[in-house]
């Protein structure tokens, strides 16, 4: 699986699953799958330390989340021990329920973190910037340049710091940072001017859109339509009207973007090649997402909802739930053919 669209579908599907369940076993299964998938992708890129670094990071995050929650939330029946009531904020009962609740939070955050980490492993920056609509071409350009420039600016900062230290700058007070910040700022500005000169000399120019006003009006109308639908929803207006307003707003925005995107007369060198694995992946993820949402709305997956309160119990399990959590590893099977 190589295309940005397929991976984005995977990301959305996994996010929906992780955010809709509080069952620690399901999330742990997802986490395990993500670790296997990530390790596989990282090894392909000859990054052998990935698993070690991330496992350590995740364990720290889960541990911290558990401790912090138990220190600040004191409700629950299974009291482990009690901190003196006089201690501000953290004084009170430390309960098993609160520990479990914190750990589940940590698991969810870890899984979300891993999702984006894997997306970063599997896609290049230019694939992600391509997802930005063409109407916002200058923004996409800016993101690309910023990401290309970031490592070089970091390196410059290091060089300047060293130069100033050798000159005898003690680097102790806030003031001592000025000799580093000013050269860094000025050099970055000079570089920016040179880059823009070079881009201009190679035919780049921000095209002034003849229909700027029209597209602005379009965007405002679209946003207004969606916003009013949301307000009306708060006052329980009939669903039909809301539906029409939402769809109308969305359509106006989409058409405006498409229209102003067409105004740009540049082309793109890079094109994603859709292979068999991308197609399979995209179709699979869409089916997965639809099936999951419909099962969820018909309440067929009660085991997703678990809470340590009011009675601490072992999380319920369903074969279907386990199946859905295992499927996050799916891209792994597609990546063998790439």
């Amino acid at each position: 699986m190589k295309t940005a669209v397929a991976w984005m579908l995977w990301l959305i599907t996994c996010m929906v699953f992780i955010l809709s369940t509080r069952n620690p076993i399901y999330i742990m299964v997802v986490l395990l799958n993500l670790l296997i998938l990530g390790n596989h992708l990282a090894k392909k890129k000859r990054n052998n330390e990935w698993l070690k670094h991330n496992t350590f990071f995740l364990l720290t995050m889960i541990g911290l989340s558990t401790i912090i929650n138990s220190l600040f939330a004191h409700s629950g029946r299974n009291i482990l021990f009690t901190l003196p009531k006089g201690w501000p904020l953290i004084g009170g009962n430390i309960t098993l329920e609160s520990l479990v609740y914190g750990a589940i939070n940590g698991l969810v955050i870890s899984a979300l973190y891993l999702l984006f980490n894997i997306l970063n492993l599997s896609l290049q920056i230019k694939q992600l910037t391509r997802l930005i609509p063409r109407a916002f071409h200058p923004i996409a350009m800016m993101v690309t340049i910023a990401l290309t420039f970031f490592p070089s600016i970091q390196q410059r900062a290091q060089e300047i710091k060293e130069a100033q230290i050798i000159r005898g700058n003690p680097m102790k007070k806030m003031q001592d940072w000025i000799p580093i910040l000013i050269p860094l700022l000025v050099t970055s500005l000079e570089n920016a001017i040179q880059l823009s000169e070079s881009m201009t000399a190679r035919g780049y120019h921000v095209q002034v859109n003849k229909n700027t006003n029209l597209s602005l009006v379009g965007l405002v109308f679209g946003a207004f339509s969606i916003f009013s639908a949301w307000i009306l929803q708060l006052y329980n207006y009939p669903e039909g009207i809301l539906f029409v307003l939402y769809i109308l707003g969305g359509l106006i925005i989409l058409l405006t973007l498409l229209h102003s995107g067409k105004q740009r007369t540049s082309t793109q060198y890079y094109k994603e090649q859709w292979g068999f694995s991308d197609l399979t992946g995209a179709v699979f993820m869409s089916v997965y997402l639809l099936a999951y949402i419909s099962l969820l709305s018909y309440n067929k997956l009660p085991s997703l909802f678990y809470s340590p309160y009011p009675n601490l119990s072992f999380p319920p399990l369903q074969l279907l739930g386990l199946l859905f959590s295992v499927l996050s590893i799916f891209p792994l099977f597609l990546s063998f053919n790439d």
């Binding site: 290049q124 920056i125 230019k126 350009m141 690309t144 340049i145 990401l147 290309t148 490592p151 070089s152 060089e159 300047i160 060293e162 130069a163 100033q164 230290i165 050798i166 000159r167 005898g168 700058n169 003690p170 000025i178 000799p179 000013i182 050269p183 000025v186 050099t187 000079e190 570089n191 040179q194 880059l195 823009s196 000169e197 070079s198 881009m199 201009t200 000399a201 190679r202 035919g203 780049y204 120019h205 007369t265 540049s266 082309t267 793109q268 060198y269 890079y270 094109k271």
Partner: protein
């Protein structure tokens, strides 16, 4: 054809014109070298040809420019991109993308070339320019010479008739620089390009060019065949100096062109200034078996050398040989094995604060140092850092050495490259250190600025200070060296007298040494004639 008639230009907020009533015609398919001191308007002139001046720079322009039927002043740089390819000094600051092939395709994207054709043209240029082994790589992971090739490819992919290069080799080591120049010459005949190239080190380009465009300080210009223009230029490469002295005509543009009969005479035995220096018993700096490992890679192996009192030691070697690493290791900025002694004291036991009292270090980019509003403040900052103070008269006298006495209240960054470099050197030496390390101080400098620098170094030597200088500039090094170390692949390949260094190693041969082998002469001043 490029035709310029009565061109005048003044930068915004400036009262003096850069050009006044220029008239010029450049024939298609020729290669023109732009020569002239820093600030004579070379870059400005080149930018006029693709419309960056005045569309990007602002300013007042008058007159007419016609580049193969287009008018850059009217059409602007965006529309000139398909006719004029432009390559700037520093390849690194021109990259938009992180992948080589995307970078090359960038101008085609801007011109809305259909994707299929775009791929065809990018493939073509990649093959033509022999970039097949790097086109999928990250722009950070390729060498300096390769970076410059990528920038040239990106300029040529639109199939322009004119290629303009603004000091394309100033950031490269001599090997890469020569390669790029030969490459440009090859491309020129392959694609029938009209090439304009600005360059300070004329010796590299003279054998290849058709014409010289010489911009004088008084906004005049002379255009024509090298034989016509070279005699009236005041700053020329050593070979032209020698030829003028020996009455060789036509002027030889390379060592091969130099007539043999003029080389045939007996060298005179005379006491040489470049003879072997004996290691003194109490050197300023004594380095023994220094080795450096960075991230499990051995960068330097068992380096041993000495810097004596009042001596200039030159370190040369290709890019990536470990020259800068050596300077940093000597300062103690990176961990190293082996011994370092400063006037008998063990430097491994000294703190950085103690070391910088005695040793000053100028990094490659002088802009890293400059931040204050005036030159005077720059110096005061260093003095404050070292808890010292000097009377205003002493500081003025100090600045006079650097030729900066009149500028002490000026903003350092608005000075010329040479003046800026001297300001940076003044800022690191005002606390009177014993040894000065300099990392490529002559990058992008004209002959005159280099001369001022070498005068300064000689003045230091008279004051019993020592200089350790890393450079790629063979002619500059031959002029000032008391001793030379050549480092390749992290090892000392040669350490000894300049006479042997500049005579025996082809990659580091000075022009004088090339003309008169086995004489021990390395700079024009050495030549003594008996007929």
């Amino acid at each position: 054809m490029i035709k310029i008639s009565s061109l005048s230009f003044t930068y915004p907020q400036s009262t003096t014109a850069v050009f006044n009533d220029l008239n010029l015609e450049i024939q298609p398919g020729t290669m023109t070298l732009l020569a002239g001191a820093s600030g004579s308007g070379k870059s400005t002139f080149l930018r006029c040809l693709n419309g960056l001046v005045p569309h990007f720079s602002g300013g007042i322009i008058s007159g007419k420019i016609n580049v193969f039927g287009s008018e850059p002043i009217k059409e602007g740089p965006e529309h000139m991109a398909s006719r004029v390819g432009f390559v700037f000094q520093d390849p690194e600051s021109q990259f938009v993308f992180d992948i080589v092939e995307d970078e090359i395709a960038f101008p085609l994207e801007n011109m809305a070339v259909p994707r299929r054709e775009m791929h065809q043209r990018v493939d073509e240029i990649i093959h033509e320019m022999q970039l097949t082994n790097i086109f999928r790589k990250n722009t950070r992971d390729i060498s300096g010479g390769e970076k410059q090739k990528v920038v040239i490819a990106s300029a040529l992919v639109c199939q322009p008739q004119v290629l303009i290069l603004d000091e394309p080799t100033s950031q490269l080591d001599p090997v890469a620089a020569n390669e790029i120049i030969k490459y440009i010459v090859k491309l020129k005949s392959q694609l029938n390009l009209t090439v304009l190239i600005a360059e300070h080190r004329l010796e590299r380009l003279l054998p290849y060019i058709d014409n010289i465009l010489y911009l004088t300080q008084d906004q005049k210009m002379v255009y024509g065949h090298p034989q016509k223009v070279l005699p009236i230029m005041d700053q020329v490469p050593p070979i032209i100096d020698i030829a003028k002295g020996l009455d060789v005509f036509p002027l030889p543009l390379s060592a091969e062109d130099f007539p043999d009969e003029k080389k045939r005479f007996q060298p005179v035995e005379k006491e040489h200034p470049h003879d072997e220096n004996k290691d003194s018993l109490d050197p300023f700096l004594d380095v023994n078996n220094l080795s450096v490992n960075l991230s499990d890679q051995k960068i330097l192996h068992n380096i041993s050398m000495q810097v004596n009192k009042g001596e200039i030691l030159i370190i040369m070697g290709p890019n990536g040989a470990g020259k800068t690493t050596l300077l940093r290791a000597l300062m103690g900025l990176i961990p190293s094995n082996g011994s370092r002694h400063f006037m008998g004291d063990d430097m491994t036991k000294m703190t950085l604060t103690q070391i910088i009292q005695h040793i000053a270090y100028l990094p490659q980019n002088p802009n890293d140092l400059l931040f204050a509003d005036t030159i005077l403040d720059e110096l005061k900052t260093t003095l404050k850092n070292h808890n010292k103070s000097l009377s205003p008269e002493t500081i003025s006298a100090f600045l006079k050495h650097f030729g900066l006495a009149d500028f002490q209240h000026r903003y350092p960054r608005e000075l010329s490259g040479g003046e800026r470099q001297r300001t940076a050197i003044a800022a690191i030496t005002v606390h009177n250190p014993k040894i000065i390390f300099l990392d490529e101080p002559t990058r992008g400098m004209d002959y005159k600025a280099k001369e001022t620098l070498s005068d300064l170094f000689h003045e230091w030597c008279r004051q019993d200070k020592s200089v350790l200088l890393v450079t790629h500039d063979v002619e500059f090094a031959a002029n000032i060296a008391d001793r030379v170390a050549i480092i390749e692949h992290g090892k000392v390949k040669f350490y000894g007298s300049p006479k042997r260094a500049f005579q025996c190693y082809p990659a580091y041969q000075s022009q004088t040494a090339k003309l008169f082998p086995n004489t021990g002469w390395i700079i024009p001043e050495d030549i003594v004639l008996t007929t």
